[in-house]
Structures are given as C-alpha cells and as structure tokens.
C-alpha cells in the first residue's frame, strides 16, 4: 500500500515537476520576448536622432532638429553682420542688375553730353580763332551755296560733325560696355552676397563630422549594449531552459519510476 501511494505520489510529483518545467520554458520565452522588446525600445532610444547645431566663428548658426512627427528640419541663421552684408550685397546686386537691364539710350546721351562738354571748349576756341581769322581777312560775312559759309568754316563744321559722330559712337560703345560691366558687378555682388552663407555651409562640415562621429559612437555603444543585453538575456534564457529541462527530467524520472512501480 505504501508503495502504491509512493508511486502515486511520485507520479504526481513527477507530473507536477514536468508541468512546472513546461510552464517555466513558456515563461522563459515570454521573458525573452519581453526583454527583447524592451531592448528594442532601449536600442531605439539609444540609436535615435539627436538634434544638433553648429555655430560658425562669425556667429552663423546651423541647426538640425526633429519634429514630433520625426521629420528632420534644418535651419541656418547668419549673424547680424553677415545678414547685413548679405542684404547690402543683394541690394547692390539688384541695383546693378537693374541698371544693366535699363535701356542704354539715356546713358548714351549722358555720356555723349559729358564728352561734348569736354570737347566743346576747344571747339569753341577753334571756332573763335577761325572767326577771328575770317574777320581779319574781311570774310566774316561770307555765305556760299557750296559751303554754306567759307570753305574753312565748312571744313571745321565737318571736323566737328565727325567729332560729334565719333563721340556718339563712342558713347554708344561706352554705354554697352558699361551695361556689361554693371551686369558683371551685379553678378559679383550677388556672389558676394552668398559668401556668408557659403562660409556657414563650409563651416558646417567639421560640425557634421563631429556629429557623425558622435552618432557612430552612439551606435556602437547601442550595439554593444544590445549585444550585451541579448547575451545576458540569452544566458538568462539558457539558465531558464536548463532549469526547465532539469525539472522536466526530474519530473519525467519520477513519473517513469512511479509508473514503473504502479505497473510492476
């Protein structure tokens, strides 16, 4: 009677141990899933984007931020001096471009007028000299169908007309060249307006390198953490599995022995 009871108790204990081993193995899987899930969250946090900003030596700033929706946004901010320079140069560039875009006829006239203003005194001196010479020769009042006045007056008038023609062409040429020069200046001004920005962008590279290095380091740390964590978890699961296997082996032996006793 006692052996049966023992066999029954042994069978029951073996079954209970096996059941417990079974439950422990399931609990180990749940624990592994839960821990890995936690690890994933931790890794996500560890490997997630970290907003950063760069400030140039001249005060310009470059910032990278992440919105609530996870979207990244960057912003650059020039220093006040750079901003002022940028605005000034932009205004200058606009002015030169506007001037370059203007019709040249008015400018031609202005240039022509200035050239004539420079030439006129000498022409007037020459005219007075001729007038004086003609007067002394008693020819001041000559009017002819061939020349209008005297041949000398015609020659002078032709020379002055040629000079005026040359001045007009030179004024046109000058105005065209000036237009090109203004366009070039506009381009130069425009380029110089973007120099602060370009310099800010140029200054961004070292900052970005540093950020990248930080990110790499962070990734490596996260990876090491994950790996360490999973190793720990793996060891935990392994021990849990070993415990379960031990309980299962013990339960199975009890049960096998009990069963063998019952049926023996």
């Amino acid at each position: 009677m006692s052996s049966l009871l023992g066999d029954l108790l042994g069978l029951g204990a073996g079954g209970a141990l096996t059941h417990k081993a079974y439950e422990d193995i399931g609990a180990a899987g749940d624990t592994a899933r839960q821990e890995l899930t936690n690890l994933a969250g931790t890794m996500e946090q560890k490997l997630g984007f970290k907003p950063y900003g760069i400030t140039s030596a001249t005060g310009g700033q470059f910032n990278v931020t992440q919105g609530p929706d996870g979207q990244l946004s960057t912003s650059m901010q020039l220093s006040p001096q750079e901003q002022a320079l940028y605005e000034q140069q932009m205004a200058n560039a606009g002015m030169f471009f506007n001037q370059a875009a203007m019709p040249t006829d008015q400018r031609e006239q202005e240039v022509y007028n200035r050239m004539r203003a420079a030439q006129s005194p000498e022409e007037e001196r020459q005219r007075l000299a001729l007038e004086s010479r003609l007067y002394n020769q008693g020819r001041g009042g000559v009017r002819s169908a061939m020349f209008g006045g005297t041949p000398e007056q015609l020659a002078m008038a032709k020379a002055q007309a040629e000079q005026r023609d040359k001045s007009m062409l030179a004024a046109m040429q000058f105005a065209g060249q000036e237009q090109q020069r203004q366009a070039g200046l506009g381009q130069g001004m425009l380029a110089s307006a973007y120099v602060p920005q370009a310099q800010l962008l140029a200054g961004l590279q070292p900052g970005m390198n540093a950020a990248e290095q930080a990110r790499i380091n962070q990734a490596a740390a996260a990876q090491a953490y994950g790996e360490t964590y999973t190793s720990g978890l793996d060891a935990l699961l392994q021990s849990r599995m070993s415990q379960a296997n031990l309980a299962s082996s013990l339960g199975g032996g009890l049960m096998s022995g009990s069963l063998a006793g019952l049926f023996s």
Partner: protein, 509 residues
C-alpha cells in the same frame, strides 16, 4: 623919252588847265581862271570841246525826256546793239529808239546800271527785278523768267552790278548796304546753288560802318567802294576764299556811275574830289583829291549841291575823263595825258551842258556816245546837235613880277587856230576886274586852201585849220591884269595858241 613897249607872251595859255584853287595868287599863265567848254588838245593848247553829233532820227519813245543811260552790247557773233534808258523805258537802237521794256514791267526811275556778261546784257537798279537782254532770245525780260534762273529774289535787286572773275557781282540793296552777292560761275541769272554766294562786309569797314556804293574789278582785286572807305579784296576768282588785302579810310565814292577803269588805274569821284585808286592805295591817305586838286573846291561844291545822279566816261581816244553832274548840267573834263607837278590832272569845265548820259566803253567803234534830249549822239563836231556853245577862257591875274607897278596894256595880239566865221570877244581887265575893256572880231571863213589853190589841183589843204593873228588895241591900267577870250562855238574848232601883249609899265604904287 618914250618908254619901250614890253612884250609879254602867254604861250599856250592854260595848258595846265583850270585852276580855281590857287591860280589867282600863283599868277601862273599856264593855268586858267576860267576854261569853259574847253579841252586840252593834243598840242597842249586850250581848245574847244567837241559837240554832240546826233545819231537818232526817231525818238518818239522818249516823249521829250532825255536819254540818261547808254550801253553798247556786243554779242558773241560780233554784232553791236546800243541800249539806252530814258522816259522810264528800256530802249534799243541808235537811229530809232525802240521800246524794249518788258510787258507788265513798271519802271519809275532810269538810274540803271548795265553790264555785259556772257552773251547777255544785264540791267540792275535798286528795288527792281534785274532785266536781261539775251543774245539768243533778242528780248529784254525779267531775270526770273530767264530759263534756269534761280535765287532771283528782292534781296538781290541791287543798284550796283559788275561782271568780273566769271560772275556777276551786285550790291547796294534796299535796306541792305553791306552785302555783296555773286552769281554762279558764268551764269548771271543763277543766284542760288552752284558756286553762288554772298559776303556781308559790315564788319570789314575800317571805320566801323559804311555803305557800299560801287564795286570794281581792278588789278586782280575786287574793289568795294563805300561812302567813306574802300575795301580791297584779293583772290576774288574764288569768292569764298577771297581775303581782305587792304582798306582805305577817309576816301569813298559818291556814285557808282563815277567809277571808270583807265586800264592801269581806277578813277572815281569821292566826296573830296577825283581819286585814283592806285595812288590812294600807295599813299594810304585821306588828303584832298589829288586828281582834281586844281578844282577841288568847285567839285566839292557841285557834289554838295548834287541831289540826282552822276555819270562819267573815260575816253581814251581823246584822253580825258568826264564827270557829269546831270541835274546841274555841269561836266568837268580831266585830261589824262599826264599829271601836273602835284599829281593833278588838267581840268576844264563844261557848263550848261545838254549832256545827260555818257558812254565811252565801246573800244571797237572808238566813239563816245552821249545821251541827251535828242536821243543818242556821239562826241563829234562843234555844235551840240546844231546849237552853239560858248568857249570861254580867262587868264589868272598877272602881275608880271611886280604887283606894285602900274601896267598899261597897249596891244593884245592873240594867235588862234580855227574858228572861222565865229565871232570872238577879247576882254581885258585890271586889278581883278575882268571887263575893263573889250573888243570883238570875226575871223574870215576858211573856205579857201591854205595856199589859195590846191597844190595839186585838189583841195588837199582847203580844210586846214586857219591860224588867226589879230592885233587888238587895248587901254587902261592897273597893277594886275587878266585877259578873257570868249566865242560861241558853232561848227568850228578854236584853239588858243598864244596871246601876246604889248604893255608899258608906269610908276610904282
């Protein structure tokens, strides 16, 4: 004891012509105090001028008015046409004066200037459209109607015109006395375009202001004669480059009609007397007129009285220059054979002349044409178209070396040449009284030959000049004396060869 008669010979008296400036005191018998209607003949004697030989038979177009301008036009075929102006008409012809005034062309003044140029005759008068007689059309027509005419505007209706250096030159316009216009080359009717032009000389006058009176071309110069100054332009072949070569101050011209070229010089009447351009340029002076210095005061007085027009002629065949004062019917004749010691030309005076126009520009015929009430005549014969004129000679006051001694003229023995049948009056006077005594005589007509009959039975000598020697008894006395000889010239010449006087001298006063 009876005093011997002194013989005083006035040989060729007045051969220096008229002298009203200083003859009275100079007491030079070579001058004359009066020399009316006389010339200095080729022998140096005072002789009667020639008269007017009428050439016109039909003068109805004149309607009693005189011819006041004459010009002879010789065309490229060698034909000669005489044009004249008078009675406000343009007339053509000599024997028959035909009215050639263009239709519907109104003329109220006959002060035309006529000039031959490039086979046409041009008529210019201030304020009138110039007229053109063209050889090709044989018509006188307004310039603007001539084929190809251009630039004919009232601005160039000049009073003076000359043809020189291949162009017509005109000046003296209504309201513009300082501009000279020149025509296109060889086209006297083209005044715009081509090489035509103008010059305003208002700034060239040496005194600051003057007015153009006349133009002349002389010695390759364009001469611009103002009222008080003269401009000399060189290089007028190209008017646009011609230059003022010289100016003369204080000598001007009274009328464009007084300017005459003598070939080697240019003669014109200034307000100070008759002037020679060459001498004026040399001397650069404004002294009283050299050529007329023996009659300057008379000339100036006549000019001052003159309100109408002048005319003049240089007549090389007779070697004199005539200046006509038309309104006053006076002519001064200047002998151009030679000058006196002071540079003056020998002058005579033709008063009360019927002559109204002179023209001696026709070198081929050699005639000097005369305009007068009878139409056109020529300087020929010894009547003014049938009318006698009076020759008058008066010597200057002669003291014969001593003004303080009385002189008694006993005889006057003139030696005259010609003047047959014409009464001659001889007068003598003392102490500036020209008519103390007189005598008249009439030389016999010279109808016979010098030798009574023709030497070879032909009248070879029958028309020879008669030498008249007449002895006139004179009387009276005075410290100075003068002799006057007068004669009505009516068909015969009269020359004063010599006047011989026999006289006694008396006490000293």
């Amino acid at each position: 004891m009876a005093q011997e008669l002194k013989s005083i010979n006035l040989v060729a008296p007045a051969f220096k012509g008229l002298n009203t400036e200083d003859a009275i005191l100079a007491q030079d018998p070579s001058f004359a105090e009066v020399a009316n209607n006389a010339v200095i003949d080729r022998r140096g004697r005072l002789a009667t001028r020639k008269g007017i030989a009428n050439l016109s038979t039909t003068i109805t177009a004149l309607d009693g008015e005189p011819v006041t301008g004459i010009h002879v036009f010789r065309d490229s075929d060698g034909n000669t046409d005489t044009f004249s102006v008078g009675n406000n008409k343009i007339l053509r012809g000599q024997a028959v004066l035909v009215d050639y005034t263009p239709v519907a062309y109104t003329i109220t003044s006959d002060d035309w200037r006529m000039v031959n140029f490039n086979d046409s005759l041009y008529f210019f008068q201030r304020g009138y459209e110039p007229l053109v007689y063209s050889h090709s059309t044989s018509l006188v027509e307004p310039m603007s109607t001539v084929a190809g005419a251009a630039g004919v505007t009232s601005a160039m209706y000049g009073n003076e015109v000359i043809g020189a250096y291949g162009r017509l030159w005109t000046a003296d316009f209504t309201g513009d006395k300082s501009t000279i216009y020149w025509s296109d080359l060889l086209q006297g009717h083209v005044w715009s375009g081509g090489s035509s032009g103008s010059i305003d000389v208002s700034e060239a006058w040496p005194q600051g202001f003057d007015q153009i009176v006349a133009l002349a071309a002389h010695n390759d110069f364009l001469i611009v004669l103002g009222t008080q100054s003269v401009l000399v332009y060189a290089g007028a072949e190209d008017p646009t480059t011609m230059t003022l070569s010289d100016t003369i101050t204080g000598v001007g011209c009274v009328s464009r009609h007084t300017v005459q070229s003598t070939g080697s010089d240019l003669v014109f009447l200034s307000h100070s007397g008759l002037r020679s351009l060459g001498r004026t340029i040399q001397e650069k002076s404004a002294s009283i007129g050299k050529l007329s210095s023996s009659v300057t005061s008379d000339i100036i007085a006549v000019i001052d009285n003159e309100t109408e027009e002048f005319d003049s002629a240089y007549y090389p065949e007779q070697k004199f220059y005539l200046i006509l004062f038309r309104n006053q019917c006076k002519i001064y004749c200047f002998d151009t054979r030679g000058a006196l010691e002071n540079g003056a030309w020998r002058a005579t005076y033709w008063p009360d002349s019927p002559i109204k126009a002179l023209y001696a520009g026709d070198r081929i015929s050699g005639d000097m044409l005369i305009g007068y009430a009878g139409g056109i005549g020529k300087y020929d014969g010894y009547t003014d178209d049938g009318s006698a004129y009076r020759l008058k000679y008066r010597s200057p006051e002669l003291s014969l070396g001593d003004t303080a001694q009385l002189k008694f003229i006993k005889k006057i023995r003139p030696t005259l040449v010609g003047s047959t049948g014409q009464p001659i009056v001889l007068r003598w006077g003392y102490d500036f009284d020209s008519s103390s005594g007189s005598a008249s005589f009439t030389p016999a007509a010279s109808g016979v030959s010098e030798f009574g009959i023709g030497e070879f039975n032909i009248g070879e000598f029958s028309s020879g000049q008669l030498a008249i020697r007449k002895s006139i008894n004179a009387n009276g006395s005075g410290s100075t004396l003068s002799v006057t000889l007068e004669s009505d010239v009516n068909g015969n010449e009269l020359s004063i060869q010599e006047i011989n006087m026999l006289l006694l001298t008396g006490r000293s006063l």
